[in-house]
Symmetry: C2
Subunit: 308 residues, 2 copies
């Protein structure tokens, strides 16, 4: 799209920061990037937008962190498919009054996490308007063999999640490392039946797996890895720590199901140091949580169905 | 990213409209789309954003047309590389008060032009905020052999442009057909040295070719294909029709250079019915326009350097 002088200056500055490997035939600065496709397997393509005032605000988050989050949350979707992220194109909509310094810090945040994840930023689009910041990131990845989808959970499967859940809004929702290495290690260690990243919240995202796979699920309340942040939020009242863990979202952890046999393997020899919790079981139907105090209650996508 | 109930409903409605060919392993509704990569050549990747109040406004443009423009302007970038567009992922940021009907019309506009261009919409992201509409489209295309870039214009090359230029803001900037067929026909007919689509405006986009290729250019004023819209705007005063053609932008026509020999071929047997104009020549240095009245003046990216 038509670009202004300031937009061109920013793009030229970004070009000067960029060097590419041999698989990038055309990088930043043309109408499109040109990339050598993978020889085997499939290409993965995902797009994700983060919005000022919705997914973060500049009272608590720096421009660097906003850029980081934009890349990281899109890369997380590639991890959730069991893939390797390779390239990103970035579309930034800047507020009219944004300075060049602001734009550079945003890009530096993007680059920091992109570099860590092995992702090359090969193209983009810069526009500005009398509105808030919006950053869209599309990531191109590859997957050898079968992509891991939300469909494929089987009755009797064990449900696992990486890391700790809940209260990410306090801090973890910005400068997080997407679980790309964990996803690949899991792929290598076991046969993943279904996988998703926790963006909407544990209950909502498990619901996606359950609905796509045509099954049910029961979670064990006592096994849910509740984060310290969730506990801190709970002390401030409103919801319990477990409820934060079930409903908060933006944890960007991997939620997946495997056979009972593979579950045993994962627990006896975890393929990485990141916390790994067996939190429930895939059932034929229904969507429940088994309470610590005994008995089970129905879950809804934002947590408990009947909050008491 | 976390989605609301209305966002889920929209995504589910879109899923029901979608059927995919055998090269789409995973389509809409998972963390990422999975696609069979092309066996030969390169993959093209581009991203483009259109913003309410910047690239269009709803006083003159319908939601259907806004959706159309979002896809068409991204596809135009693939055409400009001499490629074939194949897949799109779409990120829509809706105003909070947007209705389901509005969102559906937007999608229908996207689908109309995507279907016409052979592009499958394989994924997306829907968010909403207290701001205006923003639509980002990333397109995945392929190119057999060499992608056509902005770099490659040679001294002595003839400069060509498709269609008519200027005044697209009156109407043509929304429901246009990207020049994908013309780009492929040109590729087949001649050896394209450099190519770009006219989004910033003829003078600005030719400048991109000139700068990337390290050459100069001279345009022939009398040969510039001035649109009827440019003439209508000129009658209202301010700028001449040629100035509109040079500076307006959003024409989404193909601007390219070929050898003198290939220029002769194109003029004696054009490979399509779309108007094709030889508008200038690549020179060693400088950036000029040869006036109808004789003499030459310097060009700047928005038109004439010295407007008299």
């Amino acid at each position: 799209m038509a670009a202004t002088k300031g937009e061109f200056a920013l793009i030229n500055w970004i070009r000067r920061q960029s060097t590419f490997g041999k698989n990038v035939i055309v990088g930043i600065g043309d109408d499109a990037a040109a990339l050598r496709p993978p020889k085997n397997g499939a290409v993965l393509l995902t797009t994700d937008t983060i919005l000022e005032g919705v997914h973060f605000n500049f009272k608590t988050v720096t421009p660097f962190q906003a850029g980081w989050k934009a890349i990281a949350s899109a890369v997380s979707d590639i991890a959730a498919m069991g893939g390797v992220p390779e390239y990103a194109v970035v579309a930034v909509v800047l507020p009219k009054d944004a300075s060049m310094k602001f734009a550079r810090r945003l890009y530096e945040g993007m680059r920091s996490v992109a570099d860590r994840c092995g992702v090359a930023i090969v193209g983009g689009d810069v526009t500005s308007w009398r509105g808030k910041l919006a950053v869209n990131v599309s990531v191109f990845g590859k997957v050898d063999g079968r992509p891991i989808t939300r469909l494929g959970a089987k009755v009797g499967d064990a449900i696992f999640v990486t890391g700790d859940l809940g209260g990410s809004v306090r801090e973890r929702h910005v400068e997080f490392l997407p679980r790309t290495r964990e996803a690949l290690a899991l792929r290598k260690a076991v046969r993943l039946h279904a996988m998703i990243d926790v963006s909407d919240g544990l209950a909502a995202d498990l619901r996606h797996i359950v609905e796509e796979s045509g099954v049910g699920a029961i979670l064990y309340e006592e096994a849910i890895p509740v984060s310290r942040d969730a506990e801190i939020l709970a002390r401030r009242g409103g919801k319990s720590a477990v409820e934060h863990a079930l409903g908060d979202g933006e944890d960007f952890e991997l939620l997946f199901t495997v056979s009972n046999r593979d579950a045993g393997r994962l627990l006896s020899g975890p393929p990485f140091r990141t916390r790994l919790s067996r939190i429930g079981e895939i059932t034929a139907r229904g969507f429940y949580i088994k309470k610590k105090t005994g008995g089970r209650v129905r879950l809804n996508p934002s947590g408990y169905e009947h909050f008491k």
